[in-house]
């Protein structure tokens, strides 16, 4: 705005749209790069598209994809359950319980998942047999001058701790540590007045957590849990290190090394993971919408804005 000068009326404003020369340069550069990339995809023989499509839906690969999916689901369910337990323990007024939860979280967050999975794959060395019975049964019976192990029944550790179970266990325990932190943040985001009101109305601690605190904490817990699920789906590829053989990445790689066509099978892996995570992202969007219930309009908008881009991994 300019001040009118002298007595003359200001001239009508001639509106000229603001020009964005930088924007046009950017568009041209991106367009050229995209064209080059597409050209390479179509003309470089190393991609072997036909070979890739012929093999990426072969039966072992489909079985591997199925394993990947159910391992993701089961590991996440176990992870969430462990996470809730760890979070509640972390917030316990009892210092022994909360330190135990802290130690758990510390260990499983500090060790890389690959190392953890290889470690679990080799647990069979530690225990030849897994048994159920008295804790320290052998030593206790020894004290009373008796012989025996105090064991009710036992099985060969290598049978229970098959590659898949070991892998699943490793992923779940590790996920439990991360989920524990997420759930704890969720619980702590709820006004303590809520728990107090619930208690004043005659709800016990468990009921208060289950009916009042956790449902409200869901709004804070769900978005990062979606991210964790997507990360978990990708991390199932690490099962190949346990090793688990009927898993998607292992199967694709196996075809690659058998046929000496490594690269096309790696591209196939990318496409498989891309499509599976995309489905999860859509699911995440609707879940978040559902858990935003009971939030004021503005807060809801803010929440969706804040979580959808990160949640969906756009940008």
């Amino acid at each position: 705005m300019t001040e009118p000068t002298g007595q003359a009326r200001p001239e009508p404003i001639k509106a000229v749209p603001v020009r964005h020369p930088g924007r046009w340069v950017g568009i041209v550069v991106v367009a050229i790069l995209t064209a080059m990339f597409l050209h390479m995809l179509l003309t470089n023989d190393a991609f072997q598209w036909q070979f890739m499509f012929d093999n990426m839906f072969s039966e072992p690969v489909l079985k591997g994809a199925w394993t990947t999916l159910w391992v993701t689901v089961v590991a996440m369910i176990l992870g969430v359950v462990i996470g809730v337990i760890i979070a509640v323990m972390r917030l316990s007024p009892n210092p022994v319980i909360s330190s135990a939860a802290f130690a758990y979280t510390w260990f499983f967050r500090a060790v890389p998942r690959v190392v953890l999975l290889v470690l679990f794959g080799n647990l069979g060395i530690l225990y030849a047999e897994v048994g159920f019975g008295l804790p320290f049964g052998e030593q206790l019976l020894g004290l009373f001058g008796l012989e025996g192990s105090g064991q009710i029944f036992g099985v060969d550790a290598n049978k229970i701790l098959s590659g898949l179970v070991a892998g699943l266990l490793g992923l779940s325990l590790s996920e439990g540590a991360y989920m524990g932190e997420i759930v704890r943040a969720g619980i702590q985001s709820i006004d303590p007045g809520q728990a107090e009101a619930a208690q004043a109305l005659g709800m016990g601690r468990g009921l208060t957590m289950q009916r009042i605190v956790l449902p409200q904490a869901m709004r804070v817990i769900v978005p990062p849990t979606g991210n964790e699920t997507i990360a978990m789906l990708k991390d199932t590829a690490l099962l190949a290190f346990v090793p688990v053989t009927n898993e998607l990445f292992f199967q694709l790689q196996a075809i690659g090394s058998r046929t000496f066509q490594v690269f096309p099978m790696l591209v196939a892996a990318c496409l498989w993971y891309l499509s599976m995570t995309s489905v999860l992202m859509v699911g995440q969007y609707f879940l978040e919408k559902r858990f935003a219930r009971g939030v004021q309009g503005r807060a809801k908008e803010k929440l969706l804005k804040a979580t959808v881009p990160t949640g969906a991994g756009i940008e």
């Binding site: 009101a197 004043a200 109305l201 005659g202 709800m203």
Partner: protein, 367 residues
């Protein structure tokens, strides 16, 4: 009904929140705990439903020591309206109100019927509000829901912690009026916490004034508290305008009213003049055949003129005094229903106030 017997509370950090407090609340009585922030009001209240355990002393509810009762069961039998409302934002109004009935295992139909009844009782249309979420209500409406929730299982005792603290003054005034109406209907034993002495005076049957550190300064009905504060702290807390506040809790007494000569509406000017002469008065009240005040007259015209609106005898001195200040005449008529009882003048207001102060001052202590 409820008795606190030498109750003390010292927190783990050494703060003494309540000090040797003895207090009893009769059945159906509203006991207001009032005092500056941090004087232990909330702590006292929470010891009653065992959200906080007293360090020493006994709390007896309906003849039973509350420390011998399972706290969860105890709380289901005591309504609690929490500071800042504390509705559950992820549940509908209906679910919020039905919290305790659900915990007590009522069947759905019974709980629903109770919710409707309660929402109507607190002045919210169940058709409109039952299915809403708390954020879709105004502050005052949420407060009503909080009260409805506390009343849900019809507990004999109600604890209310600054329930009207978070709403604007107009809504608060309405909520207070509604609380009085509701209390007249349900007759609960209420412990009500506030830091607002006006609210305490308006709502309380008896008021306990607490001082920092949880010391009880005085426990008395509002009129006594305002008329005869027991300590300098109470006098200071109720304010230098306690005389004015007192008006609100002092009733009109017929014996205090002035009695100017009364002239029937049918009388002639001559008869009216004779009546004035006989009484040695400057003016006379004019009443109709039914005994209702219709106006007043004075010399030289001796013609009836309209009188200011009369005040019902059930009103407080505060209402009467405010009407008096608006009247040009310097007096207002007091009526019982429609029939005339006498007139209230500034002098009689003053006299009534002084006399009720004297009546409530224990012998030997200065007002």
């Amino acid at each position: 009904m409820l008795r606190l017997d030498a109750v003390s509370k010292r927190y783990a950090d050494g703060t003494v929140a309540v000090h040797d407090l003895t207090l009893d609340v009769a059945r159906g009585e509203v006991c207001v705990l009032v005092g500056p922030s941090g004087c232990g009001k909330t702590t006292t209240m929470r010891m009653v439903n065992r959200l906080i355990e007293p360090t020493s002393g006994r709390i007896v509810l309906d003849g039973r020591d509350v420390t011998h009762v399972d706290p969860v069961a105890l709380r289901r039998g005591i309504g609690y309206v929490i500071q800042q409302v504390g509705l559950f934002p992820h549940q509908t109004i209906e679910a919020n109100v039905a919290t305790v009935p659900a915990l007590l295992g009522w069947d759905r139909a019974r709980a629903r019927a109770r919710v409707r009844e309660l929402l109507e009782l607190v002045g919210l249309d169940p058709e409109v509000y039952a299915r809403r979420y708390p954020h879709e209500l105004s502050g005052g409406q949420r407060q009503r829901v909080g009260v409805a929730r506390a009343l849900a299982a019809d507990p004999p005792v109600l604890l209310m912690d600054e329930p009207f603290g978070a709403v604007d003054p107009i809504a608060r005034d309405r909520l207070q009026a509604e609380f009085l109406r509701l209390q007249a209907a349900v007759r609960k034993t209420v412990v009500f916490v506030t830091h607002d002495i006006e609210e305490a005076v308006r709502l309380g049957d008896r008021i306990a004034v607490l001082r920092q550190g949880g010391y009880l300064e005085q426990y008395a009905p509002p009129r006594v508290l305002l008329g005869a504060p027991a300590t300098a702290f109470v006098a200071d807390f109720v304010g230098s305008d306690r005389g004015l506040k007192r008006l609100a809790v002092t009733p009109i007494r017929v014996a205090d009213l002035e009695q100017p000569p009364v002239v029937p509406a049918s009388a002639t000017a001559g008869e009216a003049g004779a009546a004035l002469d006989a009484a040695g008065a400057d003016w006379a009240m004019v009443v109709d055949a039914a005994g209702a005040p219709v106006g007043w007259l004075t010399r030289p015209g001796l013609v009836p003129q309209p009188a200011p609106d009369p005040v019902p005898v059930t009103a407080s001195l505060k209402t009467a005094f405010s009407r008096l200040l608006q009247a040009d005449t310097g007096w207002v008529a007091v009526v019982d229903g429609a029939s005339y009882l006498g007139v209230l003048t500034p002098a009689t207001v003053h006299e009534a106030l002084r006399r009720s102060v004297a009546a409530e001052t224990p012998p030997g202590s200065a007002p």
